[in-house]
């Protein structure tokens, strides 16, 4: 036994000759297996992510006109995009969406997660499910439902307002539509983000709370100083997903277009704009340029955020 232990403790001798060749063979076999494992995914990944992106870039350098056919125009479509007030307006709108809706949604998710984790709420298990259920509802149906609920003549919200005696605001008017859409998105995704944070909270090791326990710190203090910092990775994850999701907004403008045609223009969101360019204006090449811009810009923003967040995390003791 002592001999075996000693054997384990002594460092392995440097490989020599035959043993070196054998080890490399084993290594090679492992490496080959590793590449085979990832091959299916990587092939499809390249096919579904990179090739379309590259193709979009390629298409964006051409132009097809009803009169005149196809011609090469280089980066003219991108110059056009940067000067296009509708595209920029759509981007700006998404920016507003981002700085208003995302913090609200994630704060709510965090508050709910903390509240449910604190154990001071009765029926927390059922509540968890109730809050999460909207995630299982497709965005299409959520928009149809809320579109009806918002209806100024027959929607229940308006009905209740009238019953209470005050004139209901037109939730589908162009001044309110962004807020109304923010509501739909928040309703749909608070639960999902909450669950991510809640699961992270549940995994916090007990020791972290011992000191607080001894000090007699209150719940809110505990939440602020211990819980939230401990689940930073989870919060970061939700932030990144929310950013990506915001710039991809399509379902809501597309489905509300019919019932609020003045509030929702064809360039309401960049994605919706690309869709309308491709399928209504028949300007596929410009649409490709917009899609390419959108894809690369968001990827860059998200990557930068993640990079900085990781850096600051690594620098922590």
């Amino acid at each position: 036994m002592t001999m075996a232990k000693a054997k384990q403790v002594r460092p392995a001798p440097a490989p020599s000759g035959a043993r070196l060749r054998r080890r490399s063979a084993v290594e090679r076999k492992k490496n080959r297996a590793a590449y085979l494992f990832v091959l299916p995914f990587v092939v499809l990944f390249a096919a579904m992510l990179f090739i379309p992106l590259v193709y979009a870039g390629y298409l964006s350098m051409f132009q097809v006109r009803i009169i005149g056919g196809e011609s090469f125009i280089g980066v003219a479509n991108y110059i056009r995009a940067f000067l296009d007030p509708r595209f920029l307006e759509g981007l700006l709108r998404m920016g507003v969406f981002l700085i208003v809706q995302v913090p609200i949604m994630l704060s709510l998710a965090l508050v709910f997660a903390l509240a449910l984790d604190s154990g001071r709420v009765r029926g927390s298990r059922v509540l968890r499910l109730l809050i999460f259920v909207p995630f299982a509802v497709p965005g299409v149906i959520a928009t149809l439902m809320w579109g009806y609920l918002y209806g100024n003549d027959f929607g229940p919200i308006a009905q209740v307002a009238r019953a209470l005696g005050f004139a209901p605001p037109d939730l589908l008017a162009s001044g309110n539509i962004l807020g109304s859409i923010m509501n739909i998105v928040t309703w749909s995704f608070v639960g999902y983000n909450m669950i991510i944070m809640y699961a992270a909270l549940r995994s916090i090791p007990e020791e972290l709370f011992e000191a607080a326990d001894i000090d007699g710190a209150g719940q809110i203090r505990v939440a602020w100083s211990i819980k939230i910092p401990a689940i930073r990775p989870a919060i970061l994850l939700t932030v990144i997903f929310s950013i990506i999701g915001t710039f991809q907004l399509f379902n809501e403008p597309s489905l509300l277009y019919r019932i609020a045609p003045d509030a929702i223009g064809v360039s309401f969101s960049p994605n919706f704009y690309a869709y309308n360019l491709a399928f209504i204006s028949l300007d596929t090449n410009y649409a490709a340029a917009i899609a390419f811009l959108l894809g690369t810009v968001i990827a860059t923003i998200s990557y930068i955020i993640q990079h900085f967040a990781n850096r600051s995390q690594r620098s922590e003791p």
Binding site: R65, I66, I67, G68, Y148, G151, N152, D153, F154, S174, R258, I259, A260, P261, D262, A263, G265, V266, N276, F279, I280, S281, L282
Partner: protein, 452 residues
């Protein structure tokens, strides 16, 4: 009828001429070749007796009735009717399918205003080789002009949309009016009376629908579009005439005498059902869309001519009007052509379109048919409404033209003048904005643009 993007009016086409032609053994050769060949009787018989599946994209309500009759006449042919949307969604899907080379139907409903748009891209099959050229004098002249381009015929006309004033006689009576307003000046006064005495709006101006607005401009003699069939387009939506018409409506809208709700939505249907709107300036095909949600108002409506701009005038405009076309990509062109022709050319189905679905016919033999002209429509409380619309349709200016990129015309309408309507703002500025967008787009697409 040409409606804004969403509505398609089915046309009724009688096939008497074609039947005569075929029976007389008019020879044709080559069923799938280019225009120079024509279809022989043998090829026709073979195609119509071989089991075939056809897909037909249309949104005309209850068109299954006409299709059933067709299937009875040709038992070997099986037709699948699909409603892929009303107006713009239908056209988008059609175009995507054509571009993708898969999934396109054999026959599709095409509004008159979209005919150029699809013909220009070579998506429609020229129907002359199948005998369509012989049908021309069976149809109302100007509707045939909408489907014929040079020597080619791209579709069989189904219906047109002469516009009139459909109003709730009970509401107007309650407001103390016993007849529909004759001039627009009368109409404005009546709008006030109806609103104050009954709370209803005398009509609604939809902010997301280019069709009725263009129809009203049409009535006023405004000619906003022109296309020479090649590379030149004429765009003039902000002419003085157009602005004059729209400022009239702006006045009424801003006084809250005309509502601005989006049409063809569930809320709007409920508005019609509940009497929020006392009338609708619309085309002859309107009632078929009221037979669902607004069915409870059947019997309370009366039709009258549109109000006139000048005392003593009698002109109208057109909203909608469609034809059935065969897609160039169809694998069964003979059977597809026969489907498009048969339901719109044989007397029985064509007449049915008018008597059952209230589509306004383009087929002369239906217009002359007493079953049509004498029909006492229950929806209109027994009024002989067809005779009225037949008179109205004679007053429609037949020289109206469209642009070959209609999808963009309608979508930019929503963004510009449509938005002005919805926000009860400056309609004149809205028209200017629309003009600018259309001219920019036409230039960008390589057209030569004139603006007179």
């Amino acid at each position: 009828m040409t409606r804004k993007a969403s509505r398609a009016s089915a046309g009724v086409i009688s096939g008497v001429a074609l039947a005569v032609l075929l029976l007389s053994g008019c020879s044709a050769a080559g069923s799938d070749g280019p225009a120079s060949n024509t279809v022989t009787k043998e090829e026709f018989d073979k195609a119509m007796t071989t089991p075939t599946d056809l897909t037909f994209w249309t949104w005309v309500p209850d068109i299954q009735n006409q299709v059933d009759l067709f299937e009875k006449a040709y038992p070997a042919i099986n037709v699948k009717v699909e409603n892929v949307g009303q107006g713009p969604p239908h056209y988008q899907k059609l175009r995507s399918a054509i571009d993708a080379g898969s999934g396109a139907p054999d026959v599709a409903q095409i509004n008159f205003e979209y005919m150029d748009t699809f013909a220009l891209t070579g998506s429609l099959l020229d129907l002359v080789p199948f005998g369509a050229g012989e049908l021309s004098d069976q149809y109302v002249d100007w509707t045939w002009k909408q489907v014929a381009r040079g020597d080619a015929v791209y579709a069989i006309p189904q219906d047109s949309g002469p516009m009139g004033n459909l109003y709730r006689s009970d509401i107007l009576t309650a407001a103390g009016l016993d007849a529909a307003p004759v001039t627009y000046a009368d109409y404005a006064a009546a709008a006030e009376v109806v609103r104050t005495k009954t709370g209803s709006y005398i009509s609604n101006l939809a902010p997301g629908d280019a069709g009725p607005v263009i129809g009203l401009l049409w009535q006023a003699g405004v000619d906003p579009f022109g296309y020479d069939g090649a590379e030149t387009v004429n765009i003039n939506v902000n002419s003085d005439g157009a602005k004059e018409v729209m400022s009239y409506w702006q006045d009424l809208v801003q006084k809250d005498l005309i509502s601005v709700d989006p049409d063809f939505t569930d809320e709007w249907f409920q508005g019609l059902a509940g009497g929020k709107y006392a009338g609708w300036l619309t085309a002859a095909w309107a009632p078929v869309f009221l037979s669902g949600t607004a069915a409870s108002t059947s019997g309370l409506w009366t039709a009258a001519p549109l109000p006139q701009w000048k005392e003593g005038d009698n002109v109208s405009g057109n909203w909608g009007g469609s034809a059935d076309a065969v897609m160039a990509s169809s694998a069964n062109p003979i059977a597809a052509y026969e489907l498009a022709r048969w339901i719109n050319n044989e007397q029985e189905p064509a007449l049915k379109f008018s008597t059952d679905q209230f589509l306004f016919p383009t087929l002369n033999s239906v217009l002359a048919d007493p079953a049509f002209s004498d029909q006492e429509a229950e929806f209109y409380g027994g009024q002989k409404v067809n005779a009225l619309f037949a008179e109205i349709s004679k007053t429609v200016d037949t020289n109206f033209q469209w642009l070959p990129f209609q999808d963009f015309v309608t979508s930019s309408f929503n963004e510009t003048i449509g938005k002005a309507i919805a926000q009860k703002g400056d309609f004149s500025a809205g028209l200017d904005e629309w003009q600018k967008q259309l001219v920019d787009y036409a230039n960008q697409q390589g057209f030569t643009v004139t603006t007179s």
